[in-house]
């Protein structure tokens, strides 16, 4: 049993990890074919896993409705939305439009889903403003630096700002191209090394907690 739960997954991880690390260096079509096949398998497994996810979603919200937990009405809305969309999807045979005419399924997507997504994205502008207000209050030296840099960059990026302070365009470009770019690259180097080290640990079985944690 311990072989099936621990050693076999570690063995599969090591073999597939080494094969696909090596695949990067092999330009032969057979190698490309292997990668394509593995990607398709991942998509197939992902499709089946979606059933797992949707089951979890139904269970969680069913329990909320059953227990009449706070906000159980939202769970009802979720059920109505999901079942309603599935019904119109089946009705329209999964098509958003037929001969240029929008189906009910297409209508749900275009006039409910898209505007709701747009609304969420639009909120971001206000959240940026409130986050900027809290962060840019010059309470510390770091916050003051942040505030000054932000003001310069904003002046340089907004046409009116550059009109009022012509040099702000060049300074903001320098901040972005030199200071910002160098720091980002330093972070990316660290991230890449961290990712490679983690990959080594996983491939060679040093890191096993993703299998369910603990030591055997």
């Amino acid at each position: 049993m311990i072989f099936l739960r621990r050693q076999l997954p570690l063995l599969i991880t090591m073999i597939t990890g080494l094969i696909f690390a090596g695949q990067y260096y092999v330009p032969h079509p057979a190698s490309e074919q292997l990668l394509t096949s593995a990607t398709k398998w991942l998509q197939i497994i992902g499709g089946f896993a979606l059933v797992l996810g949707v089951t979890s979603l139904f269970q969680v919200h069913a329990a909320k409705i059953r227990r009449k937990e706070a906000g159980w009405g939202y769970s009802m809305v979720l059920y109505a939305g999901m079942l309603g969309t599935m019904a119109v999807g089946w009705w329209a045979n999964g098509k958003e439009s037929v001969e240029g005419v929008s189906t009910a399924f297409g209508w749900v997507y275009n006039f409910m889903m898209v505007p709701l997504q747009g609304t969420m994205f639009a909120i971001l502008a206000f959240f940026i403003a409130s986050a900027a207000y809290r962060s840019f209050r010059a309470r510390s030296r770091e916050a003051a630096v942040l505030l000054i840099a932000a003001v310069i960059v904003m002046m340089g990026r907004v046409p009116l700002g550059e009109y009022l302070v012509p040099v702000s365009g060049d300074i903001s470009q320098w901040i972005l191209n030199v200071l910002n770019a160098s720091v980002r690259r330093a972070i990316l180097i660290g991230v890449s090394l961290g990712a490679v080290a983690l990959s080594f640990k996983i491939i060679f079985g040093v890191e096993r907690s993703y299998l369910g944690g603990g030591k055997e």
Partner: protein, 445 residues
């Protein structure tokens, strides 16, 4: 063309302005021989110069033409090399022609490319210096299978290069080659060498860490994990843990899942509720197992809830709206944002900040770092996310990996410093050798 007019050449034979003693021996030949000599030199110079002009006007066959299978590729491609010509300029053009193996006439070949004669040089090609097939100033063109021509692996093709100027065209010899796929990309050999060196350093550091204690610098964001869980316990509120936008194939999600195991162990010990909403069903299944194991290890298997890890949706903003709703309704005392994030980062953290929760973020998404830094109490920047597992567990094996990463960073810093010196030296001395060192590290793909 003459570099100097004949008058300038003849000027050297004019009477010297120097005193007699300094005059050239030729001056003694004047006057009658001098006239004859001048005429003779004029004839010779004009003859030579007109011969040069004639030679320069005439196109030449592309010299040292070579056609071969493109090395280090997946096949369906041929490469042509030829030496630079004396007439190479924007006015002159080259044509690359391809045809079947049996083609013996240029008319049977198809023009697949035409370009100015001063372009398409070996030095402009993407390959690394150790895989170059000709000198840097030679011409190189890679014929790939596409709309212009279809190349099949193992089939022989006839290839040649023609030189054009105006209406005049001169075609090189017809050469044959067959494309074949390769089993190793030697352009990436530096990548492989550096990866193996880094891997060796990591495993050496792990072995070293098993024998000796390793100093670990403080990471305030990870020290605050206990504080956040303790606070949630005191307030009797749940802890919200997010694993990011990517699936389990992304290292940042794996790192987030590993940290979840440590956090879950502590929430189990403190008997605090844990909520882990997911965007990916596979990540959810993995995290369920990790959480279950953490509760078992903490000796509280009865407290484990199957639905502490739950799926919401894969859609970015639907997920964000749902998590924001959970934050506002359940008012978690601590929010953890680990993994990779996109535009939803600020929507999540700003909502969390408005509820007064203590927030700890850890991400490798450099474009979202400013939002996390401004809205969260603690932020794990870049590789600190990958270091978190080691920091929280304090296992020697994990700590050794951190030391390996640090040595890797030191190596990169050294290469950058040496590279700056060599690049400066190369420019100052016009030497070519520093470029080989720079290319070895520059071409890491």
């Amino acid at each position: 063309m003459l570099k100097k007019p004949p008058s300038v050449v003849l000027a050297s034979f004019r009477p010297s302005t120097y005193p007699r003693g300094y005059a050239s021996a030729l001056h003694s030949l004047r006057p009658c021989w001098m006239v004859f000599l001048n005429i003779l030199i004029l004839i010779v110079v004009c003859g030579v110069s007109s011969a040069v002009v004639l030679a320069e006007d005439h196109l030449a066959v592309p010299a040292n033409l070579q056609v071969f299978d493109t090395p280090n590729d997946g096949g369906q491609s041929l490469t042509v090399n030829w030496a630079p010509g004396a007439l190479d300029s924007p006015d002159v053009r080259y044509q690359v022609l391809v045809g079947d193996a049996g083609a013996t006439d240029v008319a049977a070949l198809k023009v697949v490319a035409e370009f100015p004669a001063h372009t398409r040089l070996v030095k402009d090609a993407k390959g690394a210096w150790w895989t170059r097939t000709a000198e840097r100033n030679w011409h190189q063109f890679t014929i790939r299978s596409g709309k212009a021509v279809e190349l099949k692996d193992g089939t022989v093709y006839t290839v040649t290069v023609a030189m054009l100027k105006g209406e005049e065209r001169i075609v090189g010899p017809l050469l044959q080659a067959a494309p074949t796929p390769n089993w190793f990309n030697w352009n990436l050999v530096n990548n492989l060498v550096l990866t193996l060196i880094f891997g060796g350093v990591v495993f050496f550091s792990i072995a070293h860490a098993r024998r000796r204690d390793i100093f670990l610098r403080r990471i305030p964001g990870l020290d605050a994990v206990d504080e956040a869980i303790g606070r949630a316990t005191e307030l009797g509120k749940p802890i919200l843990y997010l694993t990011g936008a990517h699936d389990m194939s992304d290292p940042s999600t794996i790192a987030a899942a590993v940290i979840l195991g440590r956090v879950a162990k502590k929430t189990a010990a403190y008997e605090t509720e844990l909520l882990v909403p997911h965007r990916d069903p596979i990540t959810m299944a993995v995290c369920q197992e990790i959480t279950k194991q953490a509760y078992l290890e903490a000796g509280k298997p009865d407290l484990f809830k199957e639905d502490s890890n739950f799926f919401i949706t894969s859609d970015q903003f639907s997920y964000t709206a749902a998590v924001d709703g959970i934050m506002l309704r359940k008012q978690p005392a601590a929010n953890f944002f680990m993994g990779s994030y996109f535009a939803e980062a600020l929507l999540l953290t700003e909502t969390g900040a408005s509820t007064g929760a203590i927030q700890i973020a850890g991400t490798d998404s450099d474009h979202q770092l400013p939002f996390f830094v401004t809205t969260c109490d603690y932020t794990l920047i870049g590789e600190e996310l990958y270091a978190a597992s080691a920091y929280l567990s304090r296992e020697p094996v994990q700590l050794g990996t951190l030391r390996g990463q640090d040595i890797g960073k030191a190596m990169i810093l050294s290469v950058i410093a040496i590279g700056i010196l060599l690049a400066t030296l190369g420019v100052a001395t016009q030497a070519a050798w520093p470029q080989y060192f720079l290319d070895f590290f520059k071409d890491v793909k």
